[in-house]
Every structure is written in structure tokens, then in C-alpha cells.
């Protein structure tokens, strides 16, 4: 992995120059007509009368989803087509709306991660992390270093598994069926490690306010090392199968192009923003956990097309592996959760010997702990971009209001701009390269 270091790391200072301070950012969307603004009722009327005569002349409306193989779950796209060319489009979301923000208000802070972990189900640990960080910020508590490093280790592994999932679905969407299976194959190995640590393959509820749910199991180091040995040759395989593949390149290069200005104006974060050349990664720019202590590069693209986004994710796997290696080296000994008795349940051993500990344990899990009133916004860099949590507490044991800023949700806005004037096949590639997780979009 000598070449990873060569990944270009852009300087953030030149970002400022690209932004014209004089005007609103709406002007930066040259293709803003590409957003189809049409109510579903109206669309349903038009869809019955195909092809649309009169006002829209040659175009027809087509519905993609919500149950369509390439819409990553339940995304629905209303496409206005001219032949096979997408003229305008409108992503319709909400088919997986779960009311998690409302549910969060009925759950204690300790139960909270159980709820949020089901948002971005491809990267559940990040949801737990951002929720826990927000809670800890409200309480103002310190987390022991081992917990921090465990969180970092697990999150980076989760980033790897999430990007592997992207590799799989991206391959599938473009017709490379074997890539799909290969992606799952590698992801499965990561999940097995997760299962060993957290007891679950997904939706772990592992990172909790105050630390993590359990210490790393015996032999975890060997498991991680095995993973790290397994991955590089597999990534090389992907390079052979896809990166260097002429058809693959033709399908992705120059497809779904978005400019830097557009991406910023549309509040895109994560690989989409980075694909346009903006080296913006919260791990570097607004560090949390122990990211200042580890060495890694931000992978940026230069064309803002789907291939860049693919390549960024592929190389971010490699960067994450670097971080994981450093986590292995620097993992401190110590407690895996905060000693704060108000927040942390007593150790299992003490419950058996002490009645007080039992009562304490009972109270924490039934009533929860109180969190000082106030509001806070905390964000982490999830595999899809800025995952933020805005939390308001009224001093009780439940969040008064919990809002998650899902990167997929916001990134969806770039989709109509990317797929305007391209073919349906490109639209599929664009959806895939945005990599939306609908659970997080709809929450």
C-alpha cells in the first residue's frame, strides 16, 4: 500500500476563492431547471395520458420506484423523459418514513442509540456515535481514551463495510453482477467482526453515551489484522474488475457531473463534495474523537463525476485501513466507558454483591439519566457526508427534541442536477453514485 500516500490532498484555503460573496448561490445552479416540481396528484394525472401532448410536447413522465431494483430500497424518482433522455426529475422520498425523531422523544438518552442506529443501516455505528457525542456534549462529560479509540476503530471498520456495500450496489446497478457478490463477500467478514464485538451484525447499539457497550473481546487484534490482510488483495481485484475496465470507465466517467459551486450551493457533503475537488472532511477540519492523532489523507476527485465518487470511496477504504492500523498500534488500556456513576450502569460483578448497585442499575435502565437543559449540534463524517445531530434537552431523561441531519437526505438534492440531460442508464449510475440510504433519508 505504498501508493496510498500519493492520494492528492487539496488545501482547504482555495475553497474560499471559489465562492463569490456577492450573489446568492442559486445562480450557481446552471441547470436548476432540471428539478421537476410537480405534485404527485398532478403527476398521476399526466402519467395516465401518455405521451404528454400539448404543453410539454414530446416528453413523457415515468415513474421509477419506489420498488425498483436500482433505487436502493424505496427511493422513487419521477422522471420527465424525452425519448430515453432525462429532462427533469424529482426524487420522491418518505416511503420509509419511520418517525424516528418523534420516537426519540419517548426514549431515554440510554435508549436513544437503539433508535438512531436504524437510520443509516449501512453505517449504524456512526448514528450511534453522533447521538452519543451530542448527549455527552450536553452533559459535558469526558469519555475515557480507550472508549474513544474503540469508537474510532469500529467506525472506520464500519466505513469500510459501508463503502464495500457501495461497491456491491454500484457494480450491480451497472450490470456487473459479480461485483455485487464480491462486495457482500468482503462485507460479510467485517460484519463477522462486528458480531463478535457487539453481538449483532447490524443495528448494534454499541456506542452509547458515556462510552461503548462492551470492551473489545479477546483476540480482537488478530481478527482485525486478519481483516486488514484480507482486504488489500480484494481491493486490487476490484481494480482489475472495475477500475481498469473500459466499459466501467465509459459508464461512469463524465456521468453525473457536478461542479464545485453546485455541490456547495446544494449543501452536498461527503464523497459528492469531495469529488468536485473540495477537500472537506470533518475528521480533518473539525476533528472529533482522536482523529487529530492519526494520520490519513482526504481523497478528492477533480471532475465531480460518478467515476470520481466511485474512486473516492474505493480509496477511502484504503485510508480507513490506514486509520485502523494506527488504532491497533495506539489502542490505550483502560476503561471502556466513563466512570460517571450517573450515566454509567455499575459493572455486572457489582450487581451481584451490592443491593445499591442493583437499584442503581435498575434506575438507569428504567428512568434513565438526566441531561442538563440546553441545545447542541454535533456532526461527524459518516461514509455519506456530514451526519449531524441537533439535540435539545429540557433537563429530563428524554431528549426534548432530537433531529438528525442525514447526509443522504441532503445529498439527494444534487440528483436532479446530476442526471439532467443524460440517459436513463446514466440516471441509474447517478443514483448509485450518490449512494443514498433511504433509512437515513426518510428517518
Amino acid at each position: 500500500m505504498t501508493a496510498v500516500e500519493q492520494a492528492p490532498v487539496a488545501d482547504t484555503t482555495d475553497v474560499a476563492e471559489t465562492i463569490d460573496p456577492a450573489s446568492g448561490q442559486l445562480d450557481k445552479l446552471p441547470r436548476r431547471h432540471s428539478v421537476l416540481r410537480m405534485s404527485e396528484v398532478r403527476a398521476a394525472e399526466l402519467m395516465d395520458s401518455d405521451p404528454i401532448d400539448g404543453e410539454n410536447d414530446q416528453t413523457m413522465l415515468m415513474n421509477m420506484g419506489p420498488s425498483h431494483p436500482s433505487t436502493h430500497g424505496v427511493l422513487r424518482l419521477m422522471l420527465e423523459l424525452d425519448g430515453e433522455t432525462v429532462v427533469r426529475s424529482k426524487p420522491v422520498v418518505g416511503y420509509l418514513h419511520t418517525g424516528m425523531e418523534k420516537t426519540a422523544e419517548t426514549l431515554t438518552f440510554l435508549q436513544g442509540p437503539t433508535n438512531v442506529t436504524r437510520m443509516d443501516y449501512a453505517a449504524p455505528l456512526f448514528n450511534e456515535l453522533v447521538f452519543s457525542l451530542a448527549t455527552e456534549e450536553l452533559i459535558g462529560m469526558e469519555v475515557p481514551p480507550r472508549a474513544t479509540w474503540i469508537r474510532m476503530l469500529m467506525c472506520e471498520l464500519n466505513r469500510i463495510s459501508s463503502h464495500l456495500l457501495f461497491m456491491a450496489t454500484n457494480g450491480m446497478d451497472l450490470g456487473a453482477v459479480s461485483m455485487m457478490i464480491y462486495g457482500w463477500r468482503e462485507r460479510e467478514q467485517v460484519l463477522r467482526f462486528f458480531q463478535k464485538v457487539t453481538g449483532l451484525r447490524m443495528n448494534h447499539n454499541y456506542i452509547r453515551p458515556g462510552g461503548v457497550a462492551a470492551d473489545l473481546p479477546d483476540g480482537w487484534r488478530d481478527d482485525v489484522l486478519a481483516l486488514m490482510e484480507m482486504l488489500p488483495p480484494r481491493l486490487e481485484e476490484y481494480d482489475i474488475l472495475m477500475t481498469g475496465q473500459p466499459i466501467w470507465r465509459d459508464r461512469l466517467q463524465g456521468v453525473g457531473v457536478i461542479s464545485q459551486d453546485e455541490a456547495i450551493a446544494l449543501s452536498a457533503t461527503g464523497p459528492i463534495l469531495r469529488s468536485t475537488g473540495v477537500a472537506w472532511d470533518l475528521r480533518r477540519e473539525m476533528p472529533y474523537l482522536a482523529y487529530p492523532d492519526v494520520d490519513f489523507d482526504i481523497v478528492v476527485g477533480s471532475y465531480g463525476d460518478s467515476f470520481d465518487r466511485y474512486a473516492i470511496r474505493l480509496n477511502e477504504i484504503r485510508e480507513s485501513m490506514r486509520i485502523v492500523h494506527q488504532c491497533l498500534d495506539m489502542m490505550p488500556e483502560g476503561d471502556y466507558r466513563a466512570g460517571d456513576a450517573k450515566v454509567t450502569p455499575p459493572p455486572r460483578a457489582r450487581i451481584d454483591e451490592s443491593m445499591e448497585a442493583l437499584i442503581h442499575h435498575f434506575k438507569i435502565f428504567t428512568e434513565g439519566f438526566k441531561v442538563p437543559e440546553g441545545e447542541v449540534y454535533v456532526a461527524v463524517e459518516s461514509p455519506r457526508g456530514e451526519l449531524g445531530c441537533y439535540m435539545v434537552s429540557d433537563g429530563g431523561s428524554h431528549p426534548y427534541r432530537m433531529h438528525i441531519r442525514g447526509p443522504s437526505f441532503v445529498n439527494l438534492q444534487t440528483m436532479p442536477h446530476m442526471m439532467a440531460d443524460s440517459l436513463i442508464a446514466d440516471a441509474v449510475a447517478v443514483i448509485s453514485s450518490v449512494d443514498p440510504i433511504l433509512g437515513e433519508v426518510d428517518r
Partner: protein, 427 residues
């Protein structure tokens, strides 16, 4: 020339023989399709580190049977908006050409030592193919151009949008690749000098180069027509990476989205039958069909079958391999490949081949300095080729520039370099 048993009039026995051969061919084809589906699923599974079907019968061999029975007994529906007559007709239109093409393929017979592959059944001499039409290869072309009707009409008659897009794609694809297919076929016709499949096999069964390398058209025509034919054939089959017609990720199921039950099974059958048939045609055209050395201990005609089957398997595997490996092309890329690469290449190659042929047959006066004349002819034809290639590339480039100017967009690939970030991890 032509079927031996037809030479001296037709009696009842001849008819019986013909019918019998047709029935056997159909049965062989059906079994082949059944095994092909199983083979494909198994091979793809192995390529993907999986096991593949293994519950239905030993090694999952009856998987296709189970699928077929299930589909046969599934509820059938004709959508409200469908054109009922055409909707019902389409699956058969897809299936019939697939089978008919197989009738001109010689599947067995002893072609060693200059034999013509004929066997004697019930006192009648006959070839081991349903019919040796005098223009058998043209028959294949005609059938492959008809095969698109099933797909086209299926998509159109379903009365909904995804299938319609599928059928538009199908028709454009069929027209584009038919030309390349025909042109690469012309190269084969040029060197063999016959339109009959049986004679084609006989020609290829001849003494090989140096006695070792077979006289296959694959070598005689210089590989290029073979490659073009394979690519164009894959496109005609609508198999990956050219399966835009049914592209699941884009068009749900493409033309067969609205089909269920037995009608869907017919499409399924037609698709795999076409695969088998096309592989058989490739084997016949380029790899000498059933021709091959006769090692004894088996009846001579059976050796033909063994060779034929072995060659067939290579191509069936190739098609499965394509499916497991390659991403799907985009619609416009498919058209570009067909019109801007395959057709010019096959046309140019045909030109070179005919130049060489012309010289070798002595139709140009090469009594004097034969080598110089030969070189002249070849040089001229290559010159024409180069000129054509330059003109074509110029035209393509200018068209591209114009299109970009119209679109008023930057060309993300204009710098020619690839994304730095992508390359970052390797070198």
C-alpha cells in the same frame, strides 16, 4: 449439394425421416437449453464463490425443470392496457426463429478424410442436420433478423412504459448489429465460397496448416471476423454486456416486464435457445462444426457430435463468462460500438480479405512479377482502409465537437487524463 436423400424424388420415407430429424433436433435443443440454464447458474455461482442450485435434483440439475413446471402452472394474465392479440403472439414469435435457426446446423457426422458427414439411416443417406438448405447461412441471417420481432412486439403490446423503452432499444440494437453480423459473415462466405452449412464444415475439415493447425475459418479469415461476429452475436442475443433490452436496473424487466407464467417461460426459453443456437452457428462458421479427428472406438458420426459438443461448450462458457464479468453498456455506447467500430472494421477486413483472394485466384494479371502485383493490390486496399478510417475518425471527432458545443458543456474527459484520485491508490 443439398440433402442427399432429396436428390431422387421424395417418398413417404423421406418425409418421415425429415419429420423425425426435426423432432429429434427439437428435443436435443430443449434438453440443451435445460442444461444450459443450469450450466449458466452453476458457472456464474462458481465464478462468484457461491455454490449455485443444489436442492432440485442431484447437483441442482432439475432446477430448470422446476422453474419450468412452476411457471407453467402459474397464473397467467394479460394486462388491461395490452394489445391482446399481439401480446399473446409475441412469445411464439421469439421462440420460433430460435428453433428454426438450429435446423441448418450440422450437429454430428464424420467429416474426417474428406467425407461429407453423411450417414445412412434406413437405407437413406442423410446429413445429421434437419435440413441442408442451399443457402443455409442466409437462412440464419433471415431468422436472426426475425427474432427481434418477438421482443419488439412484446414490449410494445404490454402497454406500459418500461417495456416500450425496452422494445425501442431492441429494435435499434437489432438493426445496428445485424449489419456487422452480416458483414463478418460475408468474410466467411468469401473464403469458403459456399452458402451451405454442410459444405462449410467440409471445407474446414480439410488438411490443416502444417497438418496440425486446423483449417478453421477462425484462422483462415484472420480472427477479426470471428471477434466481430462474437460481439455482434452477443448483442443480437441481448446477453450481457448488451442486455439493455431487459436491463433490470434500468427498465425493471424490459420487454418482458408484464409477462408472467408460461409466456414468460417462452421468452426465457427463447433467450437460452438463441444462445445455444448462436454458439452452434459460431462453431459451424468458424470452428469447423463437427469436423475433427476420428480416433476410432466410436462410430464415426458420434465423433462429430463429440467435437461439436466440445466446441459448443467453449462458447456457452464464454457467454456465461461475459455475463459474470462485464458491466452493461449504455445505449449510446452500444450504438457507437456497432456503428463506429464493428461495421467499419468488418467492412475493412472484408476488403483486405477480398484483395488477398483476388490475388491468389489469379484474377489479376500476375503473370509478370506476381509478388509486386500482389503487394500492390493489398497495399491499395490497405490504403483505402486507412483513408476510410481517417475520414471516419475525423467525422466522429467533428460530430462530437459540434455536439459538445450545442450542449454548451465542458467535456469532462477532454484532458484525456484520468482522475487523479482514482489512480491515487495504485501505480
Amino acid at each position: 449439394m443439398g440433402e442427399p436423400y432429396l436428390r431422387d424424388g421424395v417418398d413417404f420415407g423421406d418425409v418421415l425421416l425429415a419429420v423425425g430429424k426435426a423432432v429429434i433436433a427439437f428435443a436435443v435443443l430443449l434438453v440443451a437449453v435445460m442444461l444450459m440454464v443450469w450450466f449458466e447458474r452453476k458457472v456464474v455461482s462458481r465464478l462468484q464463490n457461491r455454490i449455485g442450485p443444489n436442492v432440485a435434483g442431484p447437483f441442482g440439475l432439475f432446477q430448470t425443470l422446476a422453474d419450468g413446471i412452476k411457471l407453467f402452472f402459474k397464473e397467467d394474465i394479460i394486462p388491461d392496457r395490452a394489445d391482446r392479440f399481439v401480446f399473446q403472439l409475441a412469445p411464439y414469435l421469439a421462440l420460433v426463429p430460435a428453433f428454426l435457426t438450429f435446423t441448418v446446423v450440422p450437429i454430428a457426422g464424420d467429416f474426417s478424410d474428406g467425407q461429407n458427414g453423411a450417414v445412412t439411416i434406413f437405407g437413406r443417406e442423410t446429413f445429421l442436420q434437419v435440413a441442408d438448405a442451399p443457402v443455409g447461412i442466409l437462412f440464419f441471417l433471415a431468422m436472426s433478423s426475425l427474432a427481434v420481432y418477438g421482443i419488439m412486439l412484446a414490449g410494445w403490446s404490454s402497454g406500459s412504459k418500461y417495456p416500450l423503452l425496452g422494445s425501442i432499444r431492441a429494435s435499434a440494437q437489432a438493426i445496428s448489429y445485424e449489419a456487422a453480423l452480416g458483414l463478418s459473415l460475408a468474410a466467411v462466405l468469401l473464403v469458403t465460397g459456399t452458402l451451405s452449412t454442410n459444405e462449410m464444415v467440409q471445407v474446414q475439415a480439410g488438411e490443416g496448416f502444417g497438418g496440425i493447425v486446423p483449417r478453421w475459418n477462425l484462422i483462415v479469415t484472420g480472427f477479426v471476423p470471428f471477434v466481430v461476429f462474437l460481439i455482434a452475436g452477443t448483442a443480437e442475443l441481448n446477453r450481457p454486456p448488451f442486455d439493455l433490452v431487459e436491463a433490470e436496473q434500468e427498465l425493471v424487466g424490459g420487454f418482458h416486464t408484464e409477462y408472467s407464467s408460461i409466456r414468460f417461460a417462452l421468452f426465457f426459453l427463447a433467450e437460452f435457445m438463441n444462445t445455444v443456437t448462436l454458439s452452434a452457428i459460431i462453431v459451424t462458421l468458424f470452428l469447423g462444426g463437427p469436423a475433427g479427428p476420428n480416433f476410432g472406438f466410436l462410430p464415426g458420426w458420434l465423433w462429430g457430435f463429440v467435437w461439436f459438443f466440445a466446441k459448443l461448450l467453449v462458447f456457452l462458457f464464454t457467454f456465461v463468462w461475459f455475463r459474470a464479468t462485464l458491466p452493461r453498456l449504455r445505449y449510446d455506447q452500444l450504438m457507437d460500438l456497432g456503428w463506429k467500430v464493428l461495421i467499419p472494421v468488418s467492412l475493412g477486413w472484408l476488403l483486405v480479405l477480398s484483395a488477398v483472394r483476388l490475388v491468389r485466384n489469379g484474377q489479376i494479371d500476375i503473370t509478370g512479377d506476381s509478388f509486386l502485383d500482389a503487394a500492390l493490390v493489398v497495399l491499395v486496399s490497405i490504403g483505402v482502409l486507412v483513408l476510410g478510417a481517417v475520414l471516419l475518425s475525423l467525422a466522429i471527432r467533428s460530430a462530437r465537437r459540434e455536439r459538445l458545443a450545442l450542449a454548451g458543456e465542458r467535456d469532462p474527459l477532454s484532458s484525456g487524463s484520468l482522475v487523479a484520485a482514482a489512480e491515487g491508490g495504485r501505480d
